[in-house]
């Protein structure tokens, strides 16, 4: 039986300074399709790092490679200092993964699931039970621990699934679309837990198709499209790179719509979209200050405002801006 630890011990031991993840040129092909077409990734320790992209961008495949579930066709990667292909078992000892589909046995109770996994990790009977109970308390699931998982709600299942990844505190926690399909309350709760995990020193790599999620949680975001990384940076950097947010203005009456539109256009130097039915105007604004100035100009001119809001660019707008023309960000690290 191959034993990962002997392999790691033979290699220079994973030094504490090694980044959580360091990937170079990872490639995964499915037939003719390059699901992942050469991705570099550097994730420092203790960070929440988001991989943002639409369905089919290659996010999950990238994560599955890093979690040793799918061997890469090309490229190299180290996770917590362990080489992905040379010492996969050592990588497995340092990570945990919560996939997109609940990786729990629905027929068993929540507690049995955690005890089962703890026993696989090598905890004794008693220690396994204690660890399961501690996780149930921490994840606010104690009342449900003796219920079969099939009777859990989506949010509870997701929390149990994340708890199952923390039986041994991992160096890197992979979360594949952790809040897809959850209602807003459950989503907030999962976000809160992810933040606290990161505060306790766990590196979190998560995939998401929600810009808002990446924005809320992640210190750094890599944007992936068609198997390639098209941009990387903090949420602020990405927004700056994609140009702007959108200023939405609703007038109290439709009469001064043309005057207001002309004012906004002059002020923000961008075309204004009009929807006369709702007396609404939308315009790209490069910065919040510029938007603020435009609103002030409208008020100074006596345009009656009912409402205004600065919206983040949608994921589509980010992609459009990025794929449209920001090639220099391709190698950003």
């Amino acid at each position: 039986m191959p034993d990962g630890r002997t392999q790691t011990d033979a290699a220079p031991h994973a030094d504490a300074a090694a980044p959580a993840i360091r990937a170079r040129g990872l490639v995964k092909r499915f037939g003719d399709v390059d699901a992942v077409a050469g991705i570099d990734l550097d994730v420092p320790r203790g960070m929440i790092f988001a991989i943002l992209g639409p369905n089919g961008a290659g996010k999950t495949t990238l994560m599955r490679m890093l979690a040793t579930l799918t061997p890469p066709d090309d490229g190299t990667a180290e996770v917590m200092g362990h080489d992905l292909t040379a010492a996969p078992d050592a990588v497995r000892g340092a990570i945990a993964m919560t996939g997109q589909f609940a990786s729990l046995d629905e027929d068993l109770t929540g507690r049995e699931n955690l005890i089962f996994l703890a026993r696989l990790w090598g905890f004794g009977r008693r220690a396994a039970r204690d660890r399961a109970d501690a996780l149930f308390a921490a994840f606010e699931l104690a009342d449900a621990r003796h219920r079969q998982v099939k009777d859990y709600s989506g949010g509870m299942r997701r929390r149990l699934d994340i708890a199952a990844s923390l039986i041994v505190t991992p160096g890197v926690l992979f979360l594949d679309e952790p809040t897809t399909g959850l209602d807003p309350t459950a989503r907030q709760r999962v976000w809160r837990m992810i933040r606290q995990l990161a505060q306790s020193g766990v590196t979190v790599l998560l995939t998401t198709q929600y810009l808002e999620e990446a924005d809320q949680l992640a210190e750094r975001i890599a944007v992936i499209d068609r198997g390639r990384k098209i941009a990387e940076g903090t949420s602020r950097e990405l927004k700056a790179a994609t140009g702007s947010g959108v200023l939405h203005v609703t007038l109290a009456e439709a009469d001064p719509l043309d005057r207001a539109a002309a004012l906004l256009e002059a002020r923000l130097e961008a075309p204004v979209q009009r929807s006369p039915e709702g007396a609404r105007l939308s315009v790209m604004a490069t910065t919040a200050e510029a938007a603020n100035g435009a609103i002030a100009a409208l008020l100074a001119d006596g345009v009656p405002l009912e409402d205004f809001a600065m919206g983040s660019p949608s994921l589509e707008e980010v992609f459009f801006a990025l794929t449209g023309g920001a090639p220099q960000s391709e190698d950003a690290a």
């Binding site: 996939g99 609940a102 046995d105 068993l108 090598g122 996780l135 199952a164 505190t169 306790s200």
Partner: protein, 266 residues
């Protein structure tokens, strides 16, 4: 707002458990499943029970002169059929598990890679014992008498578990290859029905056409049934037992490594 994860101590990895410990943990899961889903027994028992009752009372008199004589002939064979059909359900369960994220979790753990399958096999052994025990019990109530007594029954069940173990690999491989559980079932029964019927489980092959008789003579299911009858009656020869073991041994030797390959490639 309270901090939900407060009080959760960072926990280091305990010493790596042995492969045996991993396998036993998976076996424990199989036992738990029996406790939570006892209705799965219904699936396992109903087919062999119907076969036993229908064949004994409908065809028994015509085939063997009396229902009692037929049951004496038929029961060891229906046990072989029972474990073969059980194996289909186990492949179906595997396919179901694989369709969820459960096996991804297993594969991202630093455990013995074959442990999940060891767990499946523990579950299979339990299923075979329980289903076989119930069918034997019903046979005893209906008048079946193993001439070799308890030692014969124990020897026969040991052989039965070995047979189930061997056949189990076929459906583990199918479960790994086929994504839809119902396809595993349909395919499994499509293969098993002719193999089980074209054997000596239900009737002696004397009245069959030559070509079919030639097949029945080498059909592993026939060899297994002959050995089971022999063990229960106390007349089994070593060569009969050896012949019955050929298929399980070959299947294990060929399919266990294939299972590991398929599993790691997924």
């Amino acid at each position: 707002m309270s901090a939900p994860l407060s009080g959760l101590e960072p926990t280091a990895r305990p010493p790596r458990p042995s492969a045996l410990s991993n396998a036993l943990t998976f076996g424990w899961r199989a036992v738990l499943k029996f406790r939570h889903v006892p209705e799965q027994l219904f699936d396992l028992i109903m087919t062999p029970l119907m076969f036993t009752l229908l064949f004994t009372f409908v065809f028994g008199g015509a085939l063997a002169g009396s229902t009692g004589d037929y049951l004496q002939f038929f029961l060891p064979g229906i046990l072989v059929q029972t474990v073969a059909f059980n194996a289909v359900y186990s492949g179906m369960n595997l396919s179901t598990d694989l369709g969820k994220g459960l096996f991804d979790r297993f594969r991202s753990l630093p455990i013995w890679p074959l442990a999940p399958f060891a767990g499946l096999i523990v579950g299979d052994v339990l299923r075979h014992l329980i289903a076989g025990g119930i069918i034997l019990g019903i046979g005893l109530i209906l008048g079946y008498r193993p001439e070799a007594g308890l030692p014969g029954v124990i020897a026969a069940f040991a052989l039965l578990l070995t047979i189930g173990f061997g056949i189990g690999w076929v459906f583990i491989v199918l479960g790994l290859l086929i994504r839809t559980p119902t396809t595993v079932m349909t395919l499994g029964f499509t293969v098993l029905f002719p193999v089980v019927f074209a054997s000596n489980i239900m009737v002696q092959p004397e009245t069959m056409p030559d070509w079919l008789r030639a097949f029945v003579a080498v059909n592993p299911v026939s060899l297994m049934t002959t050995a089971m009858r022999g063990l229960m009656a106390g007349t089994a020869s070593l060569s009969q037992i050896a012949l019955a073991l050929i298929a399980p041994v070959l299947l294990t030797a060929a399919l266990a490594p294939l299972t590991l390959r398929l599993y790691q490639r997924r």
